[in-house]
């Protein structure tokens, strides 16, 4: 049973093929990681799947529906949510408000009801706040609830972004480098969090640089290089794949 | 907020306490009508100083409390309220534009304070309101004066090019209303924005209109100067009329002697002071004002400063005659003004007429060789 299926996705920027003909599938409760050297096109791929970029070719199918190039807010209604590599939190709002924002689809009613502060609006706001506090507890940020998000540490912001995404109760969660910039302890915390979310039946698509983490938690790995899928399989088979080793060594040699 | 209010209160209290007769003014000394308001304010300040140096009115000193309303009617209303409620003036002069005048008028009428406006529209005094008077000719009279002249020349079809500012738009509308009285048909009707750089498109369109015999340009500021230059540029040979809005030497200078040659407009005695007959009733007052203003400011007199001069003259004359600085007494005395020569004309107010001028006060002028001349 496939939840998310990527079919021949590709895009070019100014004649340069950033991603070309990439296909794979994700099942509920599965953690699929996309790896590859810097500039392999991982984030671009994510941006296409999540509707930020319009793909030049291919399809994204969610739950049997073609959702290619659909606006992110419509994808959210269909159960897809994501986090960002370079952090997109609402800086001038409190941590709690950031998390409540994740409840937007459940919380929002008519704007007139909001203006007049009608009981319906109050009730929904209260429910969202309760849920948000619960989530903050789960990611360990309950003590920071009233602080302005901009004042949090990098690792905390990463967890905040995940909490906000979880508030949507997504079927598919796209995580773009959730552990980047985190120390070992923080990485492990995020590690557990992701495993827990997957265990609850959410399909997780992950871009991550921390190879140890990827190997530890992934069920399935897709490897990109120069925008092309060069390998795919379980962690063990991928780590032995000569093409993958060559790509990484090549990249490191070039970088070094 | 409270501290600000107290600050204003202190400033208000700090006004000189020796004032005997408090005159209020709300003038557009800055903003889009500054071209008109600036000489008006300078005139009032100069005249008050001069009056007090001569001993004031009936031995009492006159204090002028003048506010700059930026030509904003909303501000004008606020300043009028301040003049009435806070400064407790006995009369108000001002309202450079019709918009600001209408705002002040409402306040003055409510508070029963006499008010002399410096703006053109006929609506200000028609219908007559008990406390409101005005010194400038109405723009309708300017149209009538011009159309009279056209009629004499046998002109029946004209084109108009008007500014979209209050002055131009109001006169444009009035001219359209009275044109049929003079058997004149307006066959082309164009406008320009006061800040436009070039009006050849509009003039070309008018020029190309079938049967146009003359062109009239109501407006003030730089617009009419540009229209006049474009007129010459397009070599339009038709008689060209400007409005009293540009009746000052500055217009000839800006439009250029060559381009301005032959332009006719209805003006006041002020522009042709040197040409007035020795027995002209306006001659003494015109000469005196011209000399005083030009010495004081170093800029040539214009019609608009003259309006302020006349308003001040009427006001002080009325207070003198009333022998009292009570608003109601002043009002009655203004309404009884008769045969008072100002720079604009000779004023005679009646309960039915709060303008007090007729068409004879306008003189048809023509520019020749860079000088104003009287059309006989």
């Amino acid at each position: 049973m496939t939840l998310l299926s990527i079919e021949g996705l590709g895009i070019s920027f100014g004649g340069l093929k950033a991603v070309n003909d990439v296909s794979f599938t994700v099942k509920p409760g599965e953690i699929v990681s996309v790896i590859g050297p810097n500039g392999a096109g991982k984030t671009t791929l994510f941006n296409m799947i999540s509707g930020v970029y319009r793909p030049g070719m291919g399809k994204v199918v969610l739950n049997g529906e073609d959702v290619t190039a659909m606006s992110p807010h419509l994808l959210a209604r269909r159960g897809m949510c994501r986090t960002f590599q370079n952090l997109q939190v609402f800086q001038s709002m409190t941590v709690l408000e950031n998390t409540i924002a994740g409840y937007h689809l459940q919380e929002s009613g008519h704007v007139l009801s909001d203006l007049l502060n009608l009981p319906a609006s109050r009730r929904r706001a209260k429910a969202a706040e309760a849920g948000a506090r619960e989530l903050l507890k789960r990611v360990g940020l309950e003590r920071a609830a009233e602080r302005e998000a901009g004042s949090l540490s990098y690792g905390s912001l990463k967890r905040l972004e995940i909490a906000r995404a979880m508030a949507l109760k997504p079927k598919v969660l796209l995580l773009d480098e959730p552990a980047a910039g985190c120390n070992a302890v923080e990485t492990e915390e995020i590690d557990h969090l992701i495993a827990e979310i997957a265990a609850s039946g959410v399909a997780i698509l992950l871009v991550e640089h921390d190879m140890k983490m990827v190997m530890r938690i992934s069920n399935h790995i897709v490897v990109l290089d120069h925008g092309e899928k060069i390998a795919e399989g379980d962690p063990a088979s991928v780590s032995r794949n000569p093409a993958v080793i060559a790509a990484y060594l090549g990249a490191e040699n070039a970088a070094g | 907020m409270k501290t600000f209010l107290t600050t204003t209160a202190l400033i208000a209290l700090a006004m000189p306490a020796m004032a005997e007769i408090k005159l209020g003014a709300s003038i557009s000394a800055t903003g889009p009508a500054a071209f008109l308001g600036d000489p008006e304010l300078k005139t009032l300040e100069m005249l008050v100083e001069d009056l007090n140096a001569k001993g004031g009115i009936n031995g009492e000193e006159v204090t002028l409390i003048a506010y700059d309303d930026n030509g904003d009617p909303n501000k004008a209303r606020t300043f009028a309220t301040r003049l009435v409620e806070d400064d407790e003036v006995v009369a108000i002069i001002g309202g450079t534009t019709t918009g600001t005048t209408m705002s002040i008028l409402a306040v003055a009428e409510d508070a029963e304070i006499p008010f002399i406006s410096l703006a053109g529209a006929i609506d200000i005094i028609d219908p007559v309101k008990p406390y409101t008077f005005k010194t400038p000719h109405t723009d309708r009279m300017a149209c009538q004066k011009i159309f009279e002249d056209m009629q004499k020349a046998g002109i029946t079809k004209i084109g108009m090019i008007s500014g979209t500012d209050g002055f131009g738009a109001s006169m444009q509308a009035q001219c359209k209303t009275v044109a049929p009285d003079y058997a004149i048909e307006i066959v082309a009707d164009e406008t320009y924005d006061p800040k436009d750089a070039d009006m050849t498109a509009q003039l070309t369109k008018i020029k190309g209109t079938e049967g146009v015999q003359a062109i009239l340009n109501p407006g003030f500021g730089q617009g009419p100067s540009i229209v006049t230059r474009n007129y010459k540029q397009l070599a339009i040979e038709l008689p060209f009329y400007q409005s009293h809005g540009v009746a000052s030497d500055g217009f000839i200078e800006l439009a250029g002697t060559e381009a301005a040659e032959g332009v006719r407009l209805p003006g006041t005695a002020l522009l042709v002071a040197g040409l007035l007959a020795a027995d002209d009733p306006q001659k003494p007052v015109v000469d005196a004002y011209k000399a005083m203003f030009e010495e004081k400011t170093g800029t040539p007199v214009g019609t608009f400063g003259g309006y302020a001069h006349d308003a001040f003259l009427i006001m002080t004359d009325a207070i003198t005659r009333a022998g009292s600085a009570e608003p109601a007494a002043i009002r009655d005395a203004i309404e009884a003004t008769s045969g008072l020569a100002g720079t604009t004309g000779v004023y005679t107010f009646t309960p039915e007429d709060h303008l007090g001028l007729d068409l004879t006060a306008f003189r048809m002028l023509e520019i020749q060789g860079g000088k104003w001349t009287l059309v006989q």
């Binding site: 590599q85 | 889009p32 071209f35 979209t164 436009d196 498109a201 070309t204 730089q222 100067s225």
Partner: protein, 290 residues
């Protein structure tokens, strides 16, 4: 036929004025992403300082030079006192700051100069040139020539000189520009001096046509801003095309439709263009980076 030509010439004259003002916007925007609403005041200063210097007895070319240099110096002062200290402020704050500067300059001008309308003689006389039955004033050619010259100068500056590229680099990424050794404070100073100087030059060229007074700046700024946005902010080609397009539109609307609504036509076209090209005609396309 000669009517159409006259409408076009009228439009081109006005358009050249807009283009000159719009070009002034380009440099500051390129260096700092600030749209300087005080640009119109530079135009006013160019005209007014020339008027007063000329009236004081200086020959016209010298008076014009004084005006351009003085205005450029003022531009530098504006950068140092009002723009540099507000680095990183949101767009709306920058709009308020530059409008504040423009109100300040206007307030100062009314005190230093006066509230009268002024002009000075056209450079090559007032005898109109005739082209197929239509006419144009020699001064209009000066303005058109000025706009073209400034455009070519800017285009060469931005594409052919190291300094011009440094300006562009500073706009794209200030930090990176600093890292590769570009003296960014100097680039900013230079851009404000250039922008103000071009604004003053515009004022010198257009005053014999439009006249000047202490409060003409706002109208210039609005039309120049509209022209620059129509063409796509930051691109000298956009400023030039936007300016002429706006002017010709106004001329044709005044001639064929309604002179009352010629400004309306201009803004409707701007709204229409932005609807299809949200970055203007020649603007840089931007993508969200996430």
């Amino acid at each position: 036929m000669s009517e159409l030509l006259q409408f076009l010439l009228s439009g081109v004259t006005v358009g050249a004025v807009y283009a000159l003002v719009a070009l002034g916007f380009t440099i500051i925007y390129n260096a700092s992403d600030v749209v300087n609403f005080a640009q119109g005041e530079f135009v006013m200063l160019g005209g007014m300082i020339t008027v007063f210097t000329y009236a004081a007895g200086a020959p016209l070319p010298l008076a014009a030079l004084v005006a351009i240099v003085a205005t450029a110096a003022l531009g530098v002062a504006m950068n140092k006192l009002a723009i540099e200290p507000a680095r990183g402020a949101p767009v709306v704050s920058l709009v308020i700051i530059t409008i504040g500067v423009s109100i300040f300059i206007r307030g100062a001008a009314q005190l230093v100069f006066d509230k009268q309308i002024h002009s000075f003689p056209a450079f090559s006389g007032d005898d109109p040139l005739r082209i197929l039955g239509a006419t144009i004033l020699p001064q209009s050619l000066w303005v058109i020539g000025g706009a073209l010259a400034v455009f070519v100068g800017l285009w060469l500056f931005f594409t052919r000189t190291l300094l011009g590229r440094a300006v562009l680099a500073t706009s794209n990424n200030r930090l990176a520009a600093q890292l590769v050794g570009i003296n960014t404070p100097f680039v900013m100073t230079l851009s404000f001096a250039l922008s103000a100087g071009i604004g003053a030059l515009a004022g010198v060229l257009v005053t014999p046509i439009t006249m000047t007074s202490y409060d003409v700046g706002l109208a210039f700024a609005l039309k120049g801003f509209a022209a620059a946005m129509l063409g796509g902010m930051g691109n000298p080609k956009g400023a030039l095309v936007g300016g002429f397009l706006l002017g010709v539109l106004e001329g044709l609307t005044a001639g064929y439709l309604s002179s009352q609504y010629k400004d309306a036509a201009a803004f409707i076209v701007i709204l229409g263009v932005l609807f299809f090209l949200p970055q203007g005609l020649f603007g840089r396309k931007s993508t969200d980076r996430v």
